[in-house]
């Protein structure tokens, strides 16, 4: 008896009990649909985060380099003054890495490398992150640019409102900042010290929303940032109308307080006299910038840790403002150790494949660094676990279905005892009998798997539609689910496999039917 015959017999058996077969198949359909929905959601999430969000932001080519913290710098100074302190300071410095702000510290130099013989003053590895160090990083092979991260918070006045904003420093050159490639209106700074500001569409929208409370209701909290509901022309128009407007940064008066009037030789008196205005009673100063460009804000999945600034000013301006906006702890640290250098620097590489090599070089220079490449493996692992967990839930549904299959098969065998006896009497072997029932079960699995994948796909479509419509509400249609081909095939194969497993006992039972007994009762 060849496989076609066995298949034909199995099909015939299923056709003879259509209702029972249908009910069993439905059980499998539900299980497979559950797996598909769960796993496709996991994969979709993964793609949303890893592929779309990350790739879009060029985050794979950026390395963040951390400067030494105050504690390490104090240790460094001590070492320089008194080299006999080296070993104890070494231990001290490494034990203090834990409360370092970088937290996770993947590129700490391996301990094996820092043997005293190879490097007599290991603490010097924790270098000051200053302009010289940044220049060295810029010279590493594969690095496109290295810049200090200039980021500070300040009060900003725009359209009559004053609020706290995170402000970043950026280079005028578009080549250096991929984020500045596309402008909704305007363009990049005319030079690195211009009194110009680039704002995001988000910023403008937020201001507009404040003026128009009806729009505020539509703003979302949570991880989904609404993309513009406006038409593209409207967006461009709104952005264009903002160009040239004034944004005012507020600072404390440069003369106020006991601070030095210059740090690194940069005068703290920021401005030429004409630009500078004092507030009431001279308690603060105002510095007027003009909007030079508007960056589009795309909707999609956002995470706080990648929170971007909404305002950028030229790098030289940022340097000075940051200086003027240091917080008391920074001032204290300066009092302890003098020039602390920068806290962080951004190193951009030519392409993601060299990230690890460049990080190794940076480590040799004596800095810790972080890149998403470090974390991407971790994220992948997390998704692996999440997907696994979701698949497990679906698997449980399928497991339940497998009891249905086993039940159906046993029913079928009980009904067919006589038929099995006849088949044996005319020469059917145990193996052939068994194969018929295995085929029957795998057909149930195949049908259930195929329809289950369809049902899962349908569920995905529906859920995606509902979520986009009622939860995300605005913005581009976000694809939360993804069913790659291997999920289709895998789910069907898994359903067949589970069905076969469920049929093992019934099939063995069928093979063991005693033909004499089966044929005796009439």
């Amino acid at each position: 008896m060849n496989l076609t015959d066995i298949l034909a017999l199995a099909l015939r058996n299923l056709r003879q009990a259509k209702l029972r077969t249908a009910l069993t198949v439905i059980g499998v359909v539900i299980g497979v649909a559950a797996i598909i929905t769960m796993v496709s959601f996991g994969i979709g999430l993964q793609q949303n985060i890893i592929s779309n969000a990350f790739a879009k932001l060029d985050l794979f080519t950026v390395i963040t380099v951390f400067g030494a913290n105050t504690d390490e710098l104090i240790a460094l100074d001590d070492t320089m003054n008194n080299p006999s302190n080296v070993p104890s300071n070494n231990a001290d410095a490494s034990s203090n890495n834990a409360d370092d702000d970088s937290g996770d510290d993947p590129s700490d130099p391996p301990q094996g490398e820092s043997s005293p013989a190879a490097s007599p003053t290991p603490d010097l590895r924790r270098r000051r992150l200053d302009d010289a160090a940044i220049a060295e990083m810029a010279a590493i092979n594969g690095v496109r640019y290295a810049l200090p991260v200039l980021m500070f918070q300040s009060y900003v006045r725009y359209e009559g409102r004053t609020e706290r904003q995170r402000i970043g420093g950026a280079l005028a050159s578009v080549d250096y900042n991929p984020r500045f490639k596309n402008f909704l209106a305007g363009g990049s700074f005319t030079n690195d010290d211009a009194r110009e500001v680039i704002v995001t569409e988000n910023f403008l929208d937020r201001v507009a929303a404040r003026r128009n409370p009806a729009r505020r209701a539509r703003r979302n909290q949570g991880p989904f940032s609404p993309a513009p509901v406006k038409s593209d022309e409207q967006r461009a128009e709104d952005a264009a109308s903002a160009i040239g407007r004034e944004i005012t940064l507020l600072t404390l008066p440069s003369a106020a307080g006991p601070e030095p009037t210059s740090v690194f030789g940069i005068p703290l008196g920021l401005l030429e006299a004409g630009d500078q205005e004092s507030g009431p009673d001279g308690r603060y100063e105002t510095h007027v910038f003009r909007i030079r460009g508007v960056l589009p804000s795309d909707g999609g999945v956002n995470f706080d840790q990648f929170a971007r600034t909404d305002l950028y000013i030229p790098v030289e301006q940022a340097r000075r403002f940051r200086q003027a906006n240091r917080d008391p702890l920074e001032l204290m640290s300066e009092a302890l150790i003098g020039d602390a250098g920068y806290q962080r620097a951004e190193v951009r590489v030519m392409d993601p494949t060299v990230v690890r090599d460049v990080q190794r070089e940076i480590t040799k220079l004596g800095f810790r660094s972080f890149s998403l490449t470090n974390q991407i493996d971790e994220i992948r692992y997390i998704f692996f676990v999440v997907n696994g967990g979701l698949a497990l839930l679906g698997g449980i549904a399928l497991l339940v279905a497998s009891f249905g299959i086993a039940n159906t098969m046993i029913m079928s065998i009980l009904e067919r005892t006589r038929e099995i006896g006849i088949m044996k009497a005319i020469g059917g072997s145990d193996g052939e009998i068994m194969r018929i029932f295995f085929f029957e079960a795998s057909l149930i699995g195949l049908l259930g798997g195929a329809f289950g994948v369809l049902a899962g796909w349908g569920t995905d479509r529906l859920a995606n539609f509902l979520v986009n419509r009622y939860v995300v509400k605005q913005g581009p249609y976000i694809e939360f689910f993804s069913i790659p081909w291997y999920l289709w095939l895998g789910a069907i194969a898994f359903a067949v496999l589970i069905s076969l497993a469920a049929a093992v006992y019934p099939a063995l039972r069928a093979a063991r039917v005693d033909p004499i007994r089966a044929l005796r009762h009439d």
Binding site: I422, M423, K424, I426
Partner: protein, 227 residues
């Protein structure tokens, strides 16, 4: 040398603590081309012996030999092959598969023997024609009379050209006219194809009229081996 032989065969069935001896120390041989009837009262062990000959069952003691070779060492798979190729069985209750047509019942046996799909139908139709049922090929058992069903069963038993036909009360569910018809048919087939037939029956007269030899069983023992 007998084509089929039972040598000191004992078959016991265990029913809980009780042991039923269906056959005890039975020896019997069937020669090639012979028509042997096995008769005896109900429960004397006739079907048990036939099932042992047919390879559906194995003895507790003694052995069954086909063509001088013992069936004892055969694996269950080889035993299935023996049933497929060497013997054809027919039963009192016909044992056709009720959901299949006459033709399908016959082709099933051909399928087990691995006959190519395209040859099966013509072979089945030939076999059905041989038992005079060419017009009934597409009927299900429920649409056939008892005699017709038994002839379908015979066609199926002969499908793979077995050496021996084993029949367990083939006329038991037929009226006397159909029974005579069937016996005539079997007899003619035996003469024409030189086939060996072993038939279990209650019917002394039938046995005397058609069989070359009669094996009498009583309480699981052979009491008389002659015609």
């Amino acid at each position: 040398m007998p084509i089929l032989e039972a040598r000191s065969v004992t078959r016991e069935y265990h029913m809980g603590a009780e042991t039923v001896r269906a056959l005890s120390d039975v020896s019997a041989g069937i020669e090639r081309g012979e028509f042997v009837a096995i008769i005896g009262t109900s429960g004397s062990g006739k079907s048990t012996l036939l099932n042992l000959f047919g390879g559906l069952d194995r003895p507790n003691e003694g052995e069954i030999l086909f063509d001088g070779k013992s069936l004892a060492p055969l694996s269950s798979r080889e035993m299935a092959r023996y049933r497929l190729r060497r013997v054809g069985m027919i039963f009192q209750s016909f044992n056709l598969i009720p959901t299949m047509t006459a033709q399908q019942n016959v082709t099933l046996a051909l399928a087990f023997a691995g006959v190519a799909r395209r040859d099966r139908r013509t072979r089945a139709d030939e076999l059905l024609a041989r038992v005079g049922l060419e017009t009934r090929a597409l009927h299900r058992p429920s649409e056939l009379s008892g005699g017709e069903q038994q002839r379908v069963a015979i066609a199926r038993a002969l499908a793979n050209e077995p050496d021996i036909l084993l029949a367990d009360e083939p006329t038991g569910n037929l009226d006397s006219r159909r029974a005579t018809e069937l016996m005539d048919f079997l007899n003619e087939m035996r003469r024409r194809d030189r086939r060996t037939i072993v038939m279990v029956t209650h019917d002394q007269e039938l046995a005397h009229n058609y069989a070359d030899r009669i094996i009498r069983l009583k309480d699981g023992r052979v009491i008389d081996g002659d015609a």
